[in-house]
């Protein structure tokens, strides 16, 4: 993990209504940029820059910190708090305590912190009742136990505590970069970068108008937009929501362990269709608890009398999900039929479902 110099300027953390905060934030950023081109504003009041390069250039960590201190003092008239540690989460904590955590000690530094640095009261209280007082003690709890007791956000914090994630949700202000760019008059740059999410162009407005016309004709649910979220199978990853609903812009393309590999089926059924698999002697094929097939499937029956011959299949690829709450055992199976069609089917609770067609 990279060693970061975090710069905490308290007076810039709270935005003043006159717009001076944003202007000063920009001036400090420009001044820091002159020292190190990789300086960034994390959120109002907090800056970060990688330490290694500038340290080599200016002759040591102390030299860089002195320059940064002078530079901030000159621009906004107050001394910042500086801290050095690996990863943004530790670097911010170090800055608040004005500490330089030596290279390689950030892990111990993080583990020694009191639990409330994770910023969740219920988690702190519950853990303290269990005798866990530090981030390190929390980190040593089995993730499955954390999942049993808390929600997904706590699992995320647990990863921060273990050091798998170097920064915390909410540490960064995602809109700040764009606001600063607007202030600089670099709006076009962001329009191009962000497209639909940021500045809207004429073509977006035309598309909106068209969607409105179809809605008037067919009803509010008729036009949908799609996005991707995390998940194992293509049927889990697709999100289709009516156009205009607030969650339409959510997008999650983070890597997901155990994801079914490309290519994905061009048709993914929103409502899976039940089907049956039969072996050579016409017995039903079932998925065992160990995740294997009871026999080689040779025939698929959609609804009698519609039967098709299976000429190839791969899988089953088992998926065990939400192990901490409810057993949900599924397995994917790909198959090619004698007619040339390829299908994606899922076994769940002793039944088979058609979830995708590679058409």
């Amino acid at each position: 993990m990279e060693q970061l110099l975090a710069v905490w300027v308290e007076s810039l953390a709270l935005e003043q209504p006159d717009g001076s905060t944003l202007r000063n934030t920009l001036s400090v950023l420009d001044a820091l940029d002159a020292l190190c081109p990789f300086s960034e504003v994390v959120r109002l009041g907090l800056y970060a820059l990688p330490l290694r390069g500038p340290s080599r250039f200016f002759g040591g960590d102390e030299a860089v910190m002195r320059l940064v201190r002078e530079c901030v003092l000159e621009v906004v008239g107050i001394e910042p708090k500086l801290g050095v540690a690996e990863g943004l989460f530790c670097a911010e904590l170090a800055a608040q305590r004005e500490l330089v955590v030596p290279l390689g000690s950030s892990d111990a530094f993080r583990r020694a912190q009191p639990l409330d640095v994770l910023g969740r009261k219920d988690l702190t209280t519950t853990c303290q009742r269990l005798g866990l007082h530090t981030v390190g003690a929390f980190a040593d709890v089995d993730p499955a136990r954390v999942g049993e007791r808390f929600n997904r956000h706590a699992l995320y914090l647990h990863r921060v505590a273990r050091g798998e994630l170097s920064e915390m949700e909410g540490q960064r202000d995602p809109r700040l970069a764009r606001r600063l760019a607007l202030l600089r008059g670099e709006e076009e740059f962001f329009e191009e970068q962000q497209g639909f999410f940021g500045q809207r162009g004429a073509s977006d407005d035309r598309a909106d108008a068209a969607a409105h016309r179809v809605r008037r004709r067919l009803g509010a649910q008729a036009v949908v937009v799609a996005s991707l979220r995390g998940g194992r199978g293509p049927e889990d990853r697709a999100t289709l929501v009516p156009w205009g609903s607030p969650q339409a812009n959510v997008r999650d393309v983070a890597p997901w362990p155990g994801q079914l590999a490309a290519p994905s089926p061009a048709t993914t059924l929103a409502h899976p269709v039940p089907l049956q698999l039969r072996d050579a002697v016409n017995r039903p094929v079932v998925l065992s608890t160990r995740g294997t097939l009871s026999a080689e499937p040779t025939t698929v029956i959609f609804s009698s009398p519609l039967r098709r011959e299976i000429i190839w299949h791969a899988g089953p690829w088992p998926l065990v999900e939400r192990w901490w709450s409810r057993h949900r055992r599924r397995a994917h199976l790909q198959m090619v039929l004698a007619s040339g069609e390829a299908l994606l089917v899922v076994a769940e609770s002793h039944r088979w479902w058609l979830v995708g067609i590679y058409d």
Binding site: V223, A262, A266, W312, A342
Partner: protein, 201 residues
């Protein structure tokens, strides 16, 4: 005529491998492309792959009449989902919905629920020509698009290559059309390949 349509380019970009198969290497605005394939043999993948390049370059697209679009497959093909409107079940009003969308998108993919009526197809193609959109009509040999197209992609054969999983599908596609494309050529393309994209063989 609105000035914005005059300022627009005369074509909509087309990605590989299709670019090298069609005259001009792009889709002409106002033209109709028909994709015909037997059920389940790659027609939808092919039609969606025609959208990908334009979509990635910022053009809007609409998909009408595809009941359960494989959104993940579309992303793998390179389609930018942020600029796609879906009308999955237009019921009887597929032609009207398509016409409603013409002003708003640059590419319009339509799969009529059954055999498209001659009159409806004619009216839609006329409006497409007038508005400068590109219409991509997906059909089957059993229920062909009732009118001749500017470009005609016909899947004649589809073959899967599989190892421990489905790896790639080789489609034999006959490309024909009007003007320069009238001669007709046959190509083998991979849609989708191991990464879910379309590529030349």
């Amino acid at each position: 005529m609105r000035p914005v349509s005059l300022a627009k380019s005369r074509t909509v970009p087309l990605g590989e491998p299709w670019r090298s198969f069609v005259p001009g290497g792009a889709l002409r605005r106002g033209s109709t492309v028909v994709v015909q394939a037997p059920v389940g043999l790659g027609g939808l993948s092919l039609a969606l792959s025609l959208l990908s390049e334009a979509s990635a370059l910022g053009h809007w697209a609409a998909v009408v009449g595809v009941d359960d679009p494989g959104v993940v497959a579309m992303a793998e093909l390179g389609v930018d989902l942020r600029r796609v409107l879906f009308v999955p079940r237009p019921r009887g009003a597929w032609a009207e919905s398509a016409a409603d969308l013409l002003d708003g998108v640059d590419l319009l993919l339509v799969r009529p629920p059954s055999r498209a009526a001659h009159g409806a197809a004619r009216r839609l193609m006329d409006r497409v020509r007038e508005r400068g959109t590109v219409l991509i009509a997906l059909s089957e040999p059993r229920a062909p698009w009732p009118l001749p197209a500017d470009l005609f992609f016909r899947v004649t054969q589809a073959e899967w290559v599989a190892s421990s999983r489905l790896d790639a599908r080789y489609l034999t596609v006959h490309v024909s059309g009007r003007g320069e494309a009238a001669r007709g050529t046959e190509h083998v393309v991979v849609v989708p390949n191991r990464r879910g994209r379309a590529e030349a063989n």
